[in-house]
Amino acid sequence: MLRKSALIVLAVVLLLGGGIYWLGASGMVEALAERGLTRLFKSDVRIDDLGVSLLKMQGDMRGLNIARAQGGPPVVNSGPAIFRLEGMPLFAGKLVIDEMSLKNLALAPKGPKEELPDPKAAKSAPEAKDRQDPPEDTTKKWKESARTLGGKLPAFNPALLAGETGVSEDLLRGEPASLKAYDEAARIAKERKEGFQAEVGKARLSERARKLKADSATLKTVNYKNPKEAQAAVATLQSLSKDLKTLQSDAEQLQTQGSQGLQEAQTAFQTAEELRKKDLEEVRGLIALKGMDKKEIGRVLFGRAVLSRFDEVMGYIAQGRSVLGRVEQKDPPPKRGMGRTILFPLTSPVLPGFLVRKAALSGALIGETGETDFLYDANLQGLTTSPTLYGKPTTFQANLRKEANGKAWKVDALMDYRAKPLDEVTITGTGMSLGEVKLAPAGKSGPLPASFRSPNANMTMALRLEQDVLAAKMRLEAKDLVFRFEEGEKASTTLAKELKSFFSGIQALSLEASLRGPMDHLDFDVSTDLDDKFSQRLRDMAGKKMKDAQERARAKVHAVTEAKRAQALKIVNEGRETLQKGAETIRNEIKSAQSELSARLADSKTSVKEDLKQDLKDKAKKLLKK
């Protein structure tokens, strides 16, 4: 009885279990597919219907919907998808799809349009901080580099011209560096002169010299025969000699100070003179306009357009890296009390949790406005959540076409994230339409008042990004060019008029661009078949204008600095004269006092000598009498 019951229960359990498994295989595969795709795309993935035949190991799927993490239109598959499964990995909870055919897959790779940010706008805009960049440093570095890769724009306003030629903006605004230097020299000269005069007044050198002279003169009436009087006179003379020495020392010290001050003023003036020469040399630099070099022309005119194309591809690469190039998660450690799991060597390659070995995709590419942009057929190999485990890179080939006009694109991409991330993309476009390409230097937003369209262009772009080192090339052949020129303030500049005149007759353009180096030191080069012509045209145009500008600038420098120079020179000279005159006066007065004192000393010596002589005579006479 019990056995029968157990057998019935077991049969029911087996039937139910088998049935659930059989029926649930679809659900299991659907769950694995959704989980794998969610891990891949980091966004919500929904599959409306999925059926699996475990006997044939085949399945079909409808209604795949992958939301975009950054918003925008989702990736939608409205058509049927047929796939072939591997059975064994299902035991380990892994989904390995050998082959897949997915039709009517609507892709919206562009998402919301994002312009290359303008450097100034990027710094000032408050939303710049909140902007969600893709997680990779590479993308951030690329954005930073793209901002600073600008070609330099020749123009005729002081600020841009300054940037172009190395001439300081101050100079062109009428504030040459020498102007301040002359002011400085004048200030020093004035200060030193006043300082000298103040010191002279403070030291009372003239007064002291005159007093010395007067004191010396009083000794004229001394009776040296009177010993007491003679002794007092000698003492006075000694004191006066000492005063004279002090006076001479003070005078010398003041003169040295004055000379030093004068020297400082003269040095400052000399510096100003040198700066003036430099200012004039800078003005001469106007003749050599570096921005008119033909190497710069391509970057100046087409830089931004070219960078935008590179930026678009770099955006796809960033998406690829954020999706496929993540760090793989390790299994959590086993729980306590559940034993230990021992690992053994893997003799066969371990399959990742989600793998699509090969998928044939077809459908439409949705444009920024939501309508069908291109139809495509594509092959995808090695789409997996763990490239390291799978051991092969993901590859993608696509052919895109516009049925209306036969325009076509071909894309070949390789995404290898097993070790160092490596991306290689080659894009070839034929008969494509270039819509509204603005002429603008790289990293700057359209200061040139012109743009062009080409309904018939061929483009090849090859881009290789290994870790952060980029090597990219682009070649563009555009025909039937139509230029459009803006009206208004921008269009009235000399350069704008010249652009209009030059490009009006141009119908074809051949452009080559290269971008290479580490992401923070990118070397950007753009050359076109128009560079020579345009450069020559600009030189012809700019030659006279530049000379005029140079003359005007030189005249301005002369006019502005000359007055200051004269003023400074006058003050310096005045200081010199004051010093010389003051020193001369003092010198004369001291000399006069010195003469007077010397005379008194001579008197005293003579008197003393005569007195001694007379005294000796008297003594001799007395002796003879005796």
Binding site: L7, L10, M88, G339, R340, T341, I342, F344
Partner: protein, 174 residues
């Protein structure tokens, strides 16, 4: 009442419900099932064997229950034993093959507790089976007659409660 039914059935089986082979095989298979943690592939296989072979299911249930109750005490020892077994160089090739097979990995053989339990059962299966068979025969020949002579048993079998249990059990409510 449930436990009484279990004990009753157990005693009844031991007495004359099944052959010693059926009892021993049921208990041994049940014990093996209970000793293995979780439901790996081999546990499901054991369950199939219990149901499909002509073994005593009550004894299998009893064996599984006993193994589950004692497994907590045996876990550290089983873990060490499993670790030792998985570290055997001579079997490294076999383990490696199994490790690389998704189906065999459903057996969770590389878990130390599972491997420990497997080793224990491989070693103890036959001794346990033969030991139990001998035990059952011995029980029937020696212990059962002795037990039936016990005053306590006679009193219990003569009680109204036992009579009521005998009547009710005939209806098969439990």
């Amino acid at each position: 009442m449930f436990w009484m039914k279990i004990i009753g059935t157990f005693i009844k089986v031991l007495k004359d419900g099944a052959t010693p082979n059926q009892i021993a095989a049921g208990f041994t298979l049940g014990f093996a099932l209970g000793l293995i943690p979780g439901w790996p592939l081999q546990a499901i296989g054991l369950l199939f064997l219990i149901v499909l072979l002509n073994v005593n299911i009550s004894m299998a249930f009893a064996g599984a229950l006993l193994a589950k109750l004692t497994a907590f005490l045996l876990d550290p020892w089983l873990d060490s034993l499993g670790n030792w077994a998985l570290s055997l160089e001579s079997l490294h090739g076999v383990y490696t093959t199994g490790f690389n097979n998704s189906f065999l990995m459903l057996s969770r053989f590389n878990n130390t507790l599972v491997m420990g339990a497997m080793v224990v059962m491989v070693v103890l299966f036959l001794p346990l089976f033969f030991g139990l068979r001998v035990g059952v025969v011995a029980f029937r020949e020696r212990v059962q007659p002795w037990m039936e002579k016990l005053r306590v048993v006679q009193l219990f079998q003569g009680s109204k409660f036992y009579g009521w249990y005998e009547r009710v059990s005939q209806f098969g409510f439990w």
